[in-house]
Symmetry: C2
Subunit: 247 residues, 2 copies
């Protein structure tokens, strides 16, 4: 295994980043994972800053996180990240979340596309920088969690509604990927987090939403403690879907 294909980044669970149980929140973990992807890609010439010069940008399509447990307040932890596969239009990036002793707390999988900032259309990853992105593929590191799966919601009555505000909006003018995680988990009552923890969390991003958009949240309990969630904007397009499995 070529270790330099794996990026490694240290963190500590800060007081305002843990929930009432004292464990890191899923949205903060998601933020750290996306930052690690950014750092790791930047070090290899595929970061946002470099890409922007060529008028390309990375877009997160799927994210799946599966955990034994979340880091606790003040606990130090490490996130490792590596590229598992590169296809023409998508790349699979994986993560391991490790405790201070290097034991896995959990794993994550993400799927990214690269789009042109002008046309917003996906571009061919294999043609970029003479195809050098494939040099960073690392297939000998294990990520023992399922790939992102199908999420389907049939309920037609929203369980929640939210109007996108100033603090939801990122530099691109979109509701940021992390804020959806927060709003989705806020659909669940406190009791849920008191008695259970999240075993697996998935996001599938389909469309952008903007300042002032009304987001409606639909939810099916697929089986006990497993929920599929769909977010629509302005009673129309699907913005994203999520799966939350508690244990």
């Amino acid at each position: 295994m070529s270790i330099d294909k794996v990026g490694s980044f240290g963190f500590v669970a800060e007081p305002f980043h843990v929930d009432f149980t004292g464990r890191l929140t899923m949205s903060v973990l998601g933020n750290h994972l996306l930052n690690c992807a950014g750092f790791h890609a930047a070090d290899r010439g595929f970061g946002m800053a470099t890409l922007n010069d060529y008028h390309y940008t990375w877009v997160l399509s799927r994210l799946a996180i599966e955990l034994e447990r979340m880091p606790r307040q003040y606990e130090k932890f490490t996130i490792q990240t590596w590229v598992e596969n590169v296809y023409r239009l998508f790349t699979d990036r994986n993560y391991a979340i490790l405790d201070e002793q290097g034991n896995p707390l959990g794993y994550a999988r993400s799927i990214w596309a690269m789009i042109s900032m002008e046309t917003r259309k996906p571009t061919d990853l294999l043609s970029l920088h003479g195809g050098s992105i494939v040099d960073y593929i690392c297939q000998d590191k294990e990520c023992p969690i399922d790939r992102p799966g199908k999420i389907k919601v049939s309920d037609e009555h929203p369980v929640g509604e939210y109007r996108a505000q100033y603090s939801d909006i990122d530099i691109n003018g979109h509701v940021n990927s992390i804020k959806y995680i927060e709003h989705i988990l806020d659909l669940f009552p406190m009791e849920m987090f008191k008695t259970k923890q999240i075993k697996r969390f998935e996001m599938a991003y389909s469309a952008e939403s903007y300042y002032g958009d009304t987001l409606s949240f639909y939810r099916d309990e697929v089986k006990t403690d497993e929920y599929d969630i769909e977010v629509k904007k302005n009673a129309g397009d699907i913005v994203c879907r999520s799966k939350v499995i508690f244990i």
Copy 2:
């Protein structure tokens, strides 16, 4: 000036921590300031972890931030922090926010009390650890911004309402100090942040609020671009007040 009285911590403005203008959000800056206070106090034996053993905890009473400009996405910046004064029941902790070249981007002032975790009553700072906290006072470092001032709201019609949810609540079971900043700034329309920036921001914390509490936001425009805000819970007690000055 004894430099070891001043703590110094490095940061970078992360993509999900900047707003649609590409500048660090006030709530993220507030979070960093409070973390720096925590790190700095912990290094000197007055951190939360140590205090909790003695059943004491720090409580933030006031925060005032004044800025030339906010760090921009991916910009590196440094936060310095030091203790300016220690009184029997309060301590003044100041901050400088510096750019990569060490030029000030802004300053902040905070006022803290220490309370007993059992009685929730303030304790005498000067009697703790044999009064050794005064050894950390640093009065030869300048903090050229006004102290937190008076905030008074007379309007009786709320401009916003919000029900505290899972993601608002910290390890103590309270709405966390940083989330109030987010909710207060969400009272302003996007136009405000498009054309102006925040010159000065103040918070005054009076009472705790909890999961399920309805927070009502009252606002006076004291003068052009200067707003006083008051947050009440369940149409009763004042939870906190804030002043926002745009330029």
